[in-house]
Symmetry: C2
Subunit: 243 residues, 2 copies
């Protein structure tokens, strides 16, 4: 892990860009912590630079208000990372099928499953490295979309103690099966009028999660309209499970 | 309004029983407040004594942690108040129809609509009186079931600035229509596996609310299994809208 830049962005928050092999990422840490901090892994749909305002808004709140560390990495095939021809093809096919109102399941499988296969081990390697830093101690939470990646990590990675997932309907059938195996506490965000997601499929996914403790927060509005108060609601969910 | 008893129940919370005419109630106030406190009206399905642990748990948290006053009154026909023959008949009919799997709509109308007609003005009279106390200043929030009463008050009573409603499926069609007229911010609690409520009807009701700002909190578990952290989530909802 190489830190490539560092700046104090907020009262008591240090933001550092890093690379882990070929993977770029950002780490936010509270500078005032007296003990190693719990860690939130901040997932996103790809494109760290494009997603930066939203990611940084959440991460800085976690660090400044709750003393959590937070980190994100670029997804395979997104941002400045090498494109995958197959993924680009699947993405184009998905756009066309959405416009034409054609079935999506096969295309979603082609787009999402290879991404999960690549991204989940990268998150795990990132976790290994971050937990070796003296200022980070765990426990660990995961948040964000692509939801199939969150599902895989919640099932696969015993160091993740709680997950905040952004509901989507582009969920492969195998991910839905994995969802039934999840046992950690979940909080799920659903945008009630999400243009790109089918509400009933998102509710069915919430129903499928195997966790004994799961909460759905559904808010009025479209895909990018998550109310700002959900940042703190997420932080409080993590505070209940990562302390 | 007559105060009939008073005790300090918690650090900085005064709990007083009162009667307003024939209506018994309980008022919780923060004793350390330096200014008149916002007020939460705590609705319930009837039977203040039976509901006391849940009501007091919420009200004391509001008063002790957020400096809100909170009050509840007995519903018409419940607790020690005179029974209504028609309501008792409707209640018996509802039980029989539920067991037999018969249609409920007509019975729900007979049970709930007269209750709304009686209870809403009683809440408004209580509000008049409570707001005349020097230690209470508004703004005002309403929380709880019977949800049809909450809907009526949210539409009818301009002093109510925000409402936290407990979703149910025993909602008369006229209440569903009223729900579309609500414009104040809403937070709605839904128990995902509620034995007595139909999940899809509860989701349809959430969809119907006219408010531009509405959030659904759905939690795993049965009717009485609302997680304790929803008390604070409710308090924070009110804190956003009553300050």
């Amino acid at each position: 892990m190489q830190f490539t830049s560092g700046k104090h962005v907020d009262d008591g928050v240090l933001e550092r860009e890093f690379t882990l092999g070929e993977i770029p990422g950002i780490l936010w840490t509270p500078t005032s912590a007296s003990a190693p901090a719990p860690l939130i892994l901040c997932g996103h749909p790809g494109g760290v630079h494009k997603m930066y305002p939203r990611l940084a808004g959440r991460a800085r709140h976690y660090a400044a208000e709750y003393g959590f560390a937070a980190a994100t990495i670029e997804l395979p095939g997104s941002g400045d990372r090498p494109r995958s021809g197959a993924a680009e093809q699947a993405r184009a096919d998905l756009r066309r099928a959405l416009t034409a109102g054609e079935p999506l399941d096969e295309i979603v499988d082609r787009l999402v499953l290879p991404l999960v296969e690549k991204a989940a081990p990268e998150w795990q390697a990132t976790l290994d490295t971050l937990l070796s830093l003296p200022e980070i101690g765990g426990p660990v939470g995961y948040e964000g979309g692509v939801i199939a990646i969150g599902i895989r990590l919640a099932v696969l990675e015993p160091r993740i103690a709680a997950a905040l997932l952004f509901a989507g309907s582009f969920v492969p059938a195998t991910s839905l099966e994995e969802a039934r195996q999840i046992s950690i506490p979940l909080q799920v965000l659903l945008q009630w009028d999400d243009e790109g997601n089918d509400r009933q499929r998102a509710l069915d996914l919430f129903d499928a999660f195997g966790s004994a403790q799961k909460t759905l927060h559904a808010n009025l509005g479209g895909h990018t309209g998550v109310p700002s108060y959900e940042i703190d609601a997420g932080a409080r969910f993590f505070a209940r499970h990562l302390r």
